[in-house]
């Protein structure tokens, strides 16, 4: 999977590239409008992460040109501007998603995964991890071929873990993924524990491995180890 990161803040750009690289994405990154235009004209990507304020031009303008050139890449806008207008314009121009800075890297990864899944809907819609199978279209989860029933939150949590496997996910990142940015109540952090505990119990119950690991009380990691 090829991802192009267009972001002019070097340290942010690098952090995104590093994180996505670990998620088995092939990442390329540029930091100016013109470099971005050049890259997108020559190469084909699965997803483009686009900052709106770029040296040399606006991200929205770049998006306009992409769509004018009939490019089929999924586009996720990341912007410091949480303006409704920008968001609407971006989505109207054909962006697939909009993420406001500061975001959680696992969230970005989850959104990119979702966009790529949507783009390839005709193809494989099943995510596999060892004996786990998640059909993102039917929203079903199977362990060794047996379907198990999860609550909505548990399902979302599992999907989030799967697209961010082998990474340490902070409780904050998980909370904002499950409840959105509006729910800021610290108490939500305690529910993560409950949901994770229940999910883990169900997976174990149906014979899946113990993949969810608590990390120093600050978060969780989904991995084989």
């Amino acid at each position: 999977m090829k991802v192009l990161i267009i972001e002019d803040e070097p340290s942010l750009n690098k952090a995104m590239v590093d994180y996505l690289h670990h998620q088995q994405y092939l990442c390329e990154s540029v930091s100016t409008f013109h470099d971005a235009l050049e890259k997108t004209e020559i190469y084909q990507y699965d997803c483009i992460v686009l900052d709106l304020m770029l040296p040399g031009g606006s991200g929205l303008e770049l998006l306009r040109q992409l769509k004018a050139n009939q490019k089929s890449e999924g586009v996720i806008i990341i912007s410091a501007r949480n303006e409704l207008d920008d968001k609407l314009t971006g989505l109207q121009l054909g962006a697939d998603d909009y993420l406001t800075k500061p975001f959680h890297l696992p969230e970005l990864s989850a959104r990119i995964a979702a966009i790529i899944r949507r783009k390839n809907l005709q193809g494989n819609t099943v995510i596999r991890f060892e004996e786990l199978e998640v059909d993102v279209q039917a929203k079903t989860v199977k362990v060794q071929g047996t379907e198990i029933s999860l609550t909505r939150k548990e399902y979302e949590l599992l999907l989030y873990f799967l697209v961010n496997k082998n990474r340490v996910l902070s409780k904050d990142a998980i909370a904002s993924h499950l409840w959105g940015d509006d729910a800021d109540l610290a108490e939500n952090l305690d529910f993560i524990y409950t949901h994770v505990k229940n999910l883990r119990k169900k997976l174990l119950q149906y014979g899946a491995g113990d993949y969810i690991h608590s990390i120093y009380g600050m978060g969780y990691k989904f991995s084989i180890k």
Partner: protein, 418 residues
């Protein structure tokens, strides 16, 4: 006291003084002129008598004509000169005491000295003067009355531009970002006032804009560094070695970034609401929004063992969906955040009012401070940033709703009048 009344008082006083002084002067001058005339006619008589005496060497016969008498009295000594004087005497015509003008002179007729006195009634002069004074007083009264009537009728119209300006200024709100519209009155004072007011409000508007843009821009500018910090923390978290030794630090930094992000988000939201960036014409089922929010918060309510009592009637309002959610969200979040374990939250929705009340360990809050930015009760341990209610209040300001706080029998009551 109205400017006009004050002006009128001065005007009336001045007019009266001017008229009184003027009348007195007029009286004095007129009297002098009339007496001079009277004296001239007396002198004519005197000349006639003298020339008669010279011609005939005897006194003319006394013919007392209408309001004129001549008397001759024999005197011992002949005094030269003529004396004019006024004296009260009985008027033979009317038999009343009247002012009489007299001219007296001594004349020698056939070796005898006579004192001749010619008397003319001053009544006519006095009558004339009286008339002049009556007319004068009448004039004063008439002019004052006319002035009063004219002022009454005209003053309102003259001051109309002024009251128009006052009205406009009263309705003017900086936050609405509308320029002050004042009509040209054609009266230079009012136009000057309007001109200055307009340029003043324009300047205030510009300054306000700068301040507002500054806070919005500052909040925007903070987003990227926040994103950098957060992403790097998350990158650091992937390193087992770092985690092992610095898990607490990483957690603390992460939490602080969250608080800053939250604060930033709220400040930006405030700025956007102030800027009127939310269209208000969307049709919304307020009861559905409340049901949706309480549903989302059910888990949280259960964990704090809070009982929710809802009385909702279907309410359809014209507002902005996001802003309506913000109101419900912030009020409910507060009701949960500052509630006590096993407490109660009551939600009542009628066609004109939304009331959310909650139990709490906190005593009654200060009404004026409740919706102030960054105000939090000093005893609270909850982690709000003190912007929730200011945001609700700001939403109310743009939507025309009102937010009210009351404390009654242990319940903190927040009501929005729709």
């Amino acid at each position: 006291m109205k400017l006009f009344s004050r002006y009128n008082r001065i005007n009336i006083a001045a007019s009266i003084i001017v008229f009184v002084v003027g009348s007195v002067a007029f009286y004095v001058v007129l009297r002098a002129v009339l007496l001079k005339q009277l004296d001239a006619s007396l002198r004519t008589e005197q000349t006639e008598i003298i020339s008669y005496v010279q011609m005939h060497n005897k006194l003319p016969e006394v013919v007392n004509a209408y309001n004129q008498q001549i008397t001759y009295v024999v005197t011992n000594k002949l005094q030269p000169g003529t004396i004019y004087y006024s004296e009260k005497a009985t008027d033979p015509d009317s038999n009343e005491m009247e002012w009489m003008r007299k001219l007296a002179f001594d004349i020698k007729v056939a070796d005898k000295n006579y004192r001749a006195t010619i008397t003319k009634s001053q009544v006519e002069t006095e009558d004339l003067l009286q008339l002049v004074i009556i007319v004068g007083a009448g004039m004063i009264a008439l002019i004052l009355l006319a002035g009063y009537v004219i002022n009454r009728m005209v003053i309102k119209r003259l001051w109309k531009p002024f009251y128009k300006t006052v009205e406009e200024v009263e309705q003017y709100q900086l936050a609405k970002q509308q320029a002050l519209q004042l009509p040209v009155s054609g009266v230079s004072e009012f136009d000057l006032l309007n001109h200055r007011l307009i340029s003043m409000t324009d300047r205030a508007q510009q300054d306000y804009q700068v301040v507002k843009e500054f806070s919005a821009n500052a909040a925007h500018e903070m987003q990227t560094p926040l994103a950098v910090i957060r992403t790097h923390i998350e990158a650091l978290m992937q390193d087992e070695n770092v985690l092992q030794h610095h898990d607490k630090s990483i957690q603390t930094i992460g939490q602080s970034v969250n608080r800053l992000t939250r604060l930033n988000h709220d400040l930006l939201l405030l700025a956007r609401i102030e800027n009127g960036q939310f269209p208000l014409q969307e049709k919304i089922d307020l009861d559905k929004i409340i049901l949706q929010k309480t549903d989302e918060l059910a888990e949280l309510l259960a964990s704090k063992r809070i009982t929710l009592q809802m009385q909702l009637t279907p309410v359809y309002i014209s507002c902005n969906a996001h802003l309506a959610e913000v109101i419900v969200n912030n009020l409910l979040n507060n009701a949960i955040r500052y509630n006590k374990d096993g407490g109660i939250i009551k939600i009542e929705l009628t066609s004109h009012q939304l009331t959310i009340s909650n139990t709490s360990l906190l005593p009654a809050l200060e009404k004026e401070k409740v919706s102030q930015r960054f105000y939090r009760h000093p005893d609270t341990k909850a982690d709000g940033n003190g912007l929730g209610l200011s945001i609700v209040k700001q939403v109310c300001a743009v939507t025309g709703y009102t937010l009210q706080y009351d404390y009654h029998q242990g319940l903190h009551i927040f009501s929005i009048t729709l």
